[in-house]
Symmetry: C2
Subunit: 142 residues, 2 copies
């Protein structure tokens, strides 16, 4: 469905939401170990999310990444968007540029319902909700 980069972005964000606070920031090594992702690559991804202010970071001792409470209320769609993968949720399954009610591809009638459900899912679930779903340490790791 999504690229590796987006998968890592989602896992990292949920992990940070669950395990960090202003007084307990998380380093990139800790994060990448926790979500089982390549460290340097994950660092790049967090840079993207930080620049868009979806997550926060501070350098230096006791620095690291964390989430503001307001950010935790954001729908997870925001992350997907920030990673430039929103099109995955609304483009034509067959890859047509113009696929609509007016000019539908042969799968349009059926697939549009699934697209709607996908969008609804990612629009309604917040980062916090998903963080709350994390049961074990493995829930983001394997």
């Amino acid at each position: 469905m999504f690229s590796k980069a987006t998968e890592y972005a989602l896992r990292a964000t949920i992990f940070i939401a669950k395990n960090s606070s202003l007084s307990k920031k998380l380093g990139i090594e800790e994060i990448s170990v926790a979500i089982n992702s390549p460290q340097y690559f994950t660092a790049k991804i967090l840079q993207i999310l930080t620049k868009k202010e979806l997550i926060k970071s501070t350098p230096g001792p006791n620095g690291g990444f964390f989430l503001l409470n307001e950010s935790k209320q954001l729908p997870i769609r925001t992350i997907i968007d920030a990673m430039g993968e929103s099109t995955t949720l609304d483009k034509c399954v067959l890859g047509l540029k113009e696929c609509s009610e007016k000019s539908p591809c042969p799968m349009h009638a059926q697939y549009k319902n699934i697209k709607r459900e996908l969008q609804e899912l990612f629009d309604s679930k917040t980062i916090e909700m998903l963080a709350a779903e994390v049961k074990s340490v493995k829930s983001l790791r394997y």
Copy 2:
């Protein structure tokens, strides 16, 4: 959702199903123009499908690609499978290798329903059904 290769594979197969017969085979140029795909790349893809005998081909004058009637009855999932993209339909949204009822990712409960619908869609729709859905020449082209 799917790779370009798989999108072309699906469009090409549906187009061939609709427009060819044993006595009217379709050349690669005609096909790639009809579905608006890069000709040589599409040729490679049809080679894959031909080798798996999902579509048929003959070289030489009046040669080209066509579909046996029995192949038209195959679920479109067969094409996805042949292109090595079946995992797209059943893997974890967050990219976890092990994501199940027993050890779920934070999105599992919700996403599994969508996965089921996706699978059901691609398992139930046959190539022929989709060919019948093609209304205009643009239905596979833009």
